[in-house]
């Protein structure tokens, strides 16, 4: 409803173009027929590889090995057996094909999305509205942590998990026996997500009207009460958009999963299985395409169920509107 209000309000308000002629020009050029044709062309081009993936997943192995997917228009010989193989045929000692990995992927992605959201929203509130000495410095340090590449931290983090931390002879952190559980993967994803999450949410939360907070304080609300009853409901779009980002990132991640869920097929996510589907010599990539399509389903569901927050949330904290 608000979307239609904005788009219909734009052209009917005469005062606006005078104040922001640039914005109006941009808006007009985006809605011209030429631009529409251009956008459609780009969309079609962009979709071709995905369509090729879908086409390949429906073709038999011999056809995939000898001809390109566009041949399906000439020889429409489509089958579903690739999907059947991927879904139901396990390898030795693993029954159920992709299903156990799908469950693992969910068991990794959901907590690894919730943990950073909970921690980062609390941190963002505290850094934005709780006045304490050095809060700006803390925020800046967290922000700066974004520049640490994930790849650089993998081995030290793995060492920490498997060996604990020792300084001289003293044990600072004991070695947690976490191998074979989801915990290292959750922790790793949470850690790597926190700087960006805190930064985005901080920018959003700090722009909430001060009056609201003051009124709450006058009414006698504690910080937790303000956070829970005012801040969280108001920053739903930002939370949702970050949740989408984080969920998709964790769902598609292979590197962190391989490193921290290592050595244990019981906790390996779908991406780890997908990477093995084509076999030792890469000969069975018709299975890979089918598997890839199956792994698309969950992210698509998440995206479409949260997408109304997405565009709003994308701009959250970045532009003052």
């Amino acid at each position: 409803m608000s979307d239609t209000a904005v788009s219909s309000a734009g052209p009917t308000r005469p005062a606006q173009p005078a104040a922001r002629p640039g914005a109006e020009a941009v808006r007009r050029s985006f809605s011209s027929p030429l631009a529409s044709v251009f956008v459609i062309a780009v969309t079609v081009l962009w979709t071709i590889p995905t369509f090729g993936l879908l086409a390949t997943s429906l073709r038999p192995k011999e056809a995939v090995a000898t001809t390109g997917w566009w041949e399906m228009f000439v020889h429409p010989d489509l089958i579903l057996s690739n999907y059947h193989t991927v879904l139901f045929e396990g390898s030795f000692g693993v029954s159920g094909g992709l299903m156990p990995y799908l469950v693992n992927s969910l068991a990794i992605s959901v907590p690894a999305t919730v943990f950073p959201l909970v921690l980062a929203s609390m941190a963002a509130y505290a850094l934005a509205w709780v006045r304490f000495k050095g809060s700006d410095t803390v925020f800046f340090v967290i922000f700066a942590l974004q520049v640490v590449p994930l790849q650089m931290a993998l081995i030290p983090l793995l060492q920490l998990f498997s060996g604990g931390a020792h300084l001289g002879g003293a044990t600072i952190l004991p070695a947690f026996d976490l191998s074979g559980t989801y915990v290292p993967v959750w922790l790793a994803h949470t850690m790597f997500a926190l700087p960006l999450a805190t930064f985005l949410l901080h920018n959003f939360i700090s722009q909430l009207p001060r009056d609201l907070m003051e009124a709450a304080v006058v009414d006698g609300a504690s910080h937790f009460r303000i956070f829970w009853s005012i801040v969280l409901p108001l920053c739903t779009p930002a939370l949702a958009s970050f949740a989408i980002f984080q969920f998709l990132w964790v769902w598609n991640d292979l590197l962190v999963a391989l490193t921290f869920a290592g050595g244990n097929p019981d906790v390996a996510p779908m991406t780890a299985r997908l990477a093995q589907l084509s076999g030792s010599f890469g000969g069975r990539w018709e299975l890979l395409t089918a598997g890839a399509f199956l792994s698309l389903i969950v992210p698509l569901v998440v995206f479409f169920s949260l997408q109304r927050y997405f565009v709003r949330g994308l701009l959250a904290g970045s532009v003052k509107g």
Binding site: S91, P111, L158, V183, A216, P233, T259, N264, D266, S280
Partner: protein
Amino acid sequence: MTRKPRPAPFRRRLLAVPAVLALVLAAACSNSSSGSKGGGQAAGPLTGDCSKYQAYAGHSGTKVTMYASILSPESDSLEKSWAEFSTCTGIKISYEGSNDFESQLQVRVTGGNAPDFAIIPQPGLLAQMVKSGKAVKPPAQTVANEDKWNPVWKTYGSVNGTFYAAPMSANMKSLVWYSPKAFQQAGYQVPQTWADLMALSDRIAKAGSGKPWCGGIGSGTATGWPATDWLEEAVLGSYGGDVYDQWVGHQVKFSDPKIIAAMQTVAGWMQNPAWVNGGIGDVKSIATTTFQDAGTPILTGKCWMLQQASFYQAQWPKDTKIGPDGDVFAFHLPAVNPAVTNPVEGGGEFLTAFSGRPEVQAVQNYLSSSDWASSRVKVSTGWVSANQGVDKSLYTDPIDKLSAEALTDPAATFRFDASDLMPAAVGAAQEWKSLTAWFAQGQAIPKVAADIDAAWPQ
């Protein structure tokens, strides 16, 4: 300035989050407790079919982890081969295959999360693992079992003279795939010498029905490795084992006249415009064709021969008949220089232990025995052991049999794939790149050689 009442549905949704969280946490905790080790000692001798595993008994309820680059379905055959051992001894072998094995193994070992075993196909990577200090020397029984292999294998499983890893499997690279049917129809004989091979190629080219050779060196991020095999065949077949070993050790450089001459041999063979790339394109198409697809023109008669390893067998379509009178078969690539007897270039996989626990040693002993090798050979084709204790009549597949005979031949000059022995910066990086450029862009041989030499770690 009044507080807006909060919509109720949101609160309910928020409350659902901790609930889901609690569920997942509970699931994870139950998972971890079931994953912990049992560590009991089984008493009493093994009976019946299990009695042959008596030597490995006493570790019931234990678990060892294994990490390798072998994926399903090949890994299924591996797991089947030790299934009986596992049932009888009670040692569970948890196998994990990954095609990021080479990089992930280093991450895990450095990160302190090493598997109990890794099946390492490159002696260069084995050396790196030993250097990390985490690899564990094998027990005496494994060392004794390994003596059934050709002595040169011990050096490939050793680092600085200390033996670390026993070979599990061997594969043969010195093969030329061809179609016996097509050869018979055209009246061609399988060549016995390099001169015969060259004469035959010339004859096929002049006959005009397809080109004599096809090839492809595309292989994702490892593009170029089949070209290293061609160069290795030329070096080993021209100069024999000693020069080959010096080349691997960089005492003989790539820019050495000998290696340059070997590259010219390859250029006259696989870069000869009249001879390649049958059914696919010109010389440059070798660089853009994946090694998996390179042999397909042989089935349609557009190409006559493909130099590729024994494991290329898996690439033929399911209904292809493989055998001396079938659709495809392979012959032993003759030596460039007839003075070099029976050169065999091959590869293999080495079982490296990262733990000295008794159950790990029991598994290591079993997997180095000829009993296990025979058990694996029986499970399915496409696996060859160079263990002299394996009965050759067990091989049901003609290619496996051919490879096993060549690999166990005491008179053969066996050498391991040089690019797997060289430092990774060369053998798994610069050599691939430079040889690909050689095929794709027609770079001059001296430049290719100089580029590879420059990448050799000091």
